[in-house]
Symmetry: C2
Subunit: 418 residues, 2 copies
């Protein structure tokens, strides 16, 4: 065995216990509970023999020194914060498995050429400041003054939030990792969907993180009396919204392929006015998002949908306003790291497939500094961001073993080959 | 001239001024402002020479005695309460015009055989108690103990609300009007839609009040990660809801005819869960209503829609729950009263058409007691239940003149002919 599966699982349990007691499993970034989790992690890092520090971006780092101080570090980890009423494994698995890899290497006296850095990135989940991937953004130099001035509902600024967790917003440049400054960043994560489970596969080799585009779509019609207004005279904003919702669904269903999955979702509807049983809706607001590794398909889905619906919505007296909320380009995983993960999984006897990540991860920013790869393991029924989030201990261990083997092979290959 | 058009208009203005000053035009039932409006009305009734009383159901009644005390009364009126930020004419026009008819008759020394009762029904609009047509329900014996026990948000019961406005909930039987106890009930009202205006018509002869059915439709799917869940594995409740919304719209558009208008509306959407941009919606709730004079078409629209959608929604992993919120049968207007209104309008030189009322009115309950008819006049752009509600003084006068002529002709015809 290369890792201690029992210790891995026990640590996942122990970290999970640091939760708001009345709504497990909740450990929100920038809270006392989060700091308690961090204190526990720092103690575990230290007990495992790692050099522990917090960088100016609020990332907790445990370093296992390699034999060649001239080489950039191999970095692995994830995040320890959760969504409200979230799960015990999203993020936590990647941090605890990274610790397990480093500790196992040290206990086995296996000295790699590269340093190994175990990292717990700050605030990967969208926090009360409305921003995700706060810590990894600092590695990419993308935590700017506007973001630092953002306030959460109680008035605290993100700058103050960073200070609260021990980061140093005035010295963010010291957290910056220039391109080429890391040998690789590899993260283990639960899949958060059912592709691996449905196909009874052990390991997912991530091909990249999909481009994500979100738009706020406002449909403006005319509120009218629902009883007195003939069907032909209506400008029903909710009917227009319904055609957009169904159209996005049908277009993504038609456009998705196994090789290049495409998803489109209207997850939010709001500001339906007057939203009364006896009134024709005069307004409705949607948030529509689309994700795909192929960014052109993302943009195309939006544009084609509205080009197609434009005439009929206009004929219905409806006006459509589109506002881009966010547009994040795709982050491909480095081909050589995909190959290394795949070979490691094969040699360890695990079944696998390649698949993209529709969800965002810290690799979107950490990849700025060097080659990037991700390992997925299945989770029960694909459920995540919910207290029911679950994977079997052996599934967690399988992921950690592939991570261990991947780190060892990347060390042997050297960063230059990536 | 049979009525005083200037006095009619001045009274509409004067009553409108009794509004919550910071949100015109608002005079909600069961409020101090409502009582102020009632006090003004009672004084106007009395000054016009009517015998004024409040019945046990909270309806303000002004009586002009006829020559034959053995005949049942001819009743005309509407309601003086408004929706929040409502208009100045919905309801008010029917009350003020009824007063104008009675006063004109008296001033002209024209004594009818029947008594004429001018009625301001209590709380036609849905009040904070969630119930509409409170006063007219008492005429039909349909204000029951369960309704009286209903509370509004501040804890007051409807029983207490009735007492607050001077009604007597313990003697509701005295407000009851048995079938045959009135010669006719005729109400003048704004159309609240654009059929008359679009066709440049002066008068609408109402054929009946449509049946109204409302159902709460709950679509249950499965919440999932919007990025990670492939399109083919989703049970997206909002997509299911969208197909219902659009399906109801298309079916009503296809099923409506000029002779028998049919409308279907999803006016409310709520309880979308989790309603987050990055989550596939797991649940959505709609309130869908359908209205038509032909009750079978109302029931058929619901049943046909869900029968047709059932297979595809099930295939999408969605469960549909239907709950009937309300089902009110149609209230046809008495044919002989339609004929009388139509003839009166013609003889007065007004253009006209027959049309159903999609909106509910007190006639749904007052018709329990005798023959029933309604007169519509156009309102600007069909707008109602909004501060912009408007009609021209001459349009209001035309309606009042047709009402005057209709009451006179019904008196001459006698109730027995209806």
């Amino acid at each position: 065995m290369t890792i201690d599966a029992q210790r891995l699982w026990q640590r996942l349990d122990a970290l999970a216990e640091i939760t708001e007691p009345d709504r497990p499993w909740t450990r929100r970034s920038f809270t006392r509970r989060f700091l308690a989790g961090r204190a526990w992690l720092a103690a575990e890092f230290a007990a495992a023999g790692l050099d522990v520090r917090l960088d100016a971006g609020g990332n907790l780092i445990g370093r296992l020194a390699g034999s060649n101080p001239d080489l950039p570090p191999l970095v692995t980890g994830s995040h320890s914060d959760s969504v409200p009423s979230g799960g015990r494994y999203d993020g936590m698995l990647g941090v605890i498995a990274a610790l397990e890899v480093a500790q196992s290497l040290r206990e086995q006296g296996r000295v790699l050429a590269h340093d190994v850095e175990v990292v717990d990135f700050l605030a990967e989940e969208p926090s009360e400041f409305g921003l995700s991937c706060v810590g990894s953004r600092s590695w990419a130099g993308k935590l700017d003054a506007t973001m630092l001035a953002t306030t959460r509902p109680d008035g605290m600024t993100l700058r103050e939030g960073l200070q609260y967790v021990g980061a140093d917003p005035d010295r963010l440049a010291s957290a910056y990792r220039a391109p080429g400054s890391i040998a690789a960043y590899v993260e283990l994560h639960i899949e958060q969907a059912r592709i691996l489970e449905s196909n009874a596969l052990d390991i997912g080799v991530v091909t990249g993180i999909a481009a994500i585009r979100r738009e706020r779509i406002t449909v403006i019609g005319r509120a009218d009396h629902a009883g007195q207004t003939p069907m032909g005279e209506r400008a029903d904003a909710l009917v227009g919204a319904a055609r957009i919702i169904d159209g996005a669904y049908r277009d993504a269903l038609a456009g998705t392929t196994p090789a290049c999955p495409l998803v489109a979702t209207v997850g939010h509807i709001g500001n339906v006015k007057p939203n009364a049983a006896n009134a024709v809706p005069g307004q409705a607001e949607l948030i529509m998002e689309c994700r795909c590794l192929d960014e052109a398909k993302v943009i195309g889905l939006f544009d084609d949908l509205f080009a197609r619906l434009s005439a009929e919505l206009t004929a219905m007296g409806l006006e459509i306003q589109r506002q881009v909320i966010s547009h994040v380009p795709a982050t491909p995983c480095t081909a050589a790291i995909q190959d290394t993960i795949s070979a490691a999984a094969t040699d360890l006897g695990f079944t696998q497939c390649h698949l993209p990540s529709g969800a965002g991860h810290d690799g979107m920013f950490a990849s700025h500094a060097g080659p990037f790869g991700m390992i997925f393991v299945p989770c029960l029924d694909g459920r995540s961001h919910t207290p029911e989030e679950w994977l079997e201990p052996e599934q967690a261990a399988a992921g950690a073993r592939v991570l261990f083997e991947t780190i060892c092979r990347l060390d042997a290959q050297g960063a230059a080959s990536l």
